[in-house]
């Protein structure tokens, strides 16, 4: 199953805010199915890596406590027009995804 990943750059001050939105259920493993009463297994993003031209800029660690469809943001400095900013994530079920964009 693929999860749509979107990334947005916003020029702020001396750098860019990088926002990443993933369509992901982020199940805690504590919730029960209301019809069957069975526990819904945990399914959440664990690691999210932000890169600039392939070099890691920041690594986020996520867990059950992050909202469904997580929106995370960092502030990147030193990105120039034409540079490639990418994000890659992996979850506890071994699924992964990512997105990339070019600095305007």
């Amino acid at each position: 199953m693929a999860f749509a990943t979107k990334m947005k750059l916003r020029k702020i001050g001396d750098g860019h805010d990088v926002l990443c939105l993933v369509k992901h259920p982020m199940e805690t493993g504590l919730r029960k199915d209301q019809k069957t009463g069975e526990v819904i297994p945990a399914h959440y993003i664990e690691i999210m890596t932000f890169t600039l031209n392939g070099n890691t800029v920041a690594e986020a660690i996520l867990g059950q406590g992050v909202s469904k469809d997580p929106l995370t943001g960092i502030h990147m400095v030193g990105a120039k027009a034409g540079d490639t900013v990418a994000v890659a994530w992996s979850d506890n079920k071994g699924e992964s995804g990512g997105a990339e964009t070019t600095v305007q």
Binding site: D17, N55, G65, T72, I74, H75, A88, G98
Partner: protein
């Protein structure tokens, strides 16, 4: 997380990704950092802080600024923004005292990113939300109480 090790791994990951392309970048980066299961296993915030930062004393500081609502009508989505002016900030962590798993999320800042992290978090009930910033040999923190209204009708 040791900053030097983190940077070194980043460099390796970056160099390999440049030669091998995007597909490998994902797998290389994903294995570079271990998901800290021991921190997520802690049931109290104090234990989680200890698991994350060791014995480093935690000081409350005005250098950590939290931007979050005072009251959240929907505990499933609470936006939190953490900013720090400290240039030597290495990582930022968010914890919710009364959640079943107090450790919510954190970010390791490498070269090219400054002290800012934003995330949307889940909150089971009204609780104190604490943000920790590791800078040099110090751990700085700030906290804010966020009221969660169940039912979403305000009040």
């Amino acid at each position: 997380m040791k900053r030097r090790v983190f940077l070194k791994k980043s460099l390796i990951g970056g160099a390999m990704a440049l030669t091998a392309g995007y597909g490998l970048l994902r797998s290389v980066v994903a294995t570079a950092l271990e998901w800290p299961k021991t921190v997520f296993d802690q049931e109290t915030e104090a234990d989680a802080v200890k698991a994350l930062f060791g014995d480093t004393p935690v000081v409350e500081s005005a250098d950590v600024v939290i931007k979050a609502p005072l009251q959240a009508e929907n505990g499933a989505v609470v936006p939190i923004k953490v900013t720090t002016e400290r240039a030597d900030a290495e990582s930022i962590a968010i914890m919710v005292e009364k959640n079943p798993v107090p450790y919510i999320t954190s970010v390791n800042l490498g070269q090219g990113s400054s002290g800012f992290y934003s995330a949307r978090i889940k909150m089971g009930e009204t609780s104190k939300v604490s943000c920790y910033v590791k800078a040099g040999n110090e751990v700085l923190m700030a906290a804010q109480e966020i009221k969660v209204t169940v039912g979403g009708c305000g009040g």
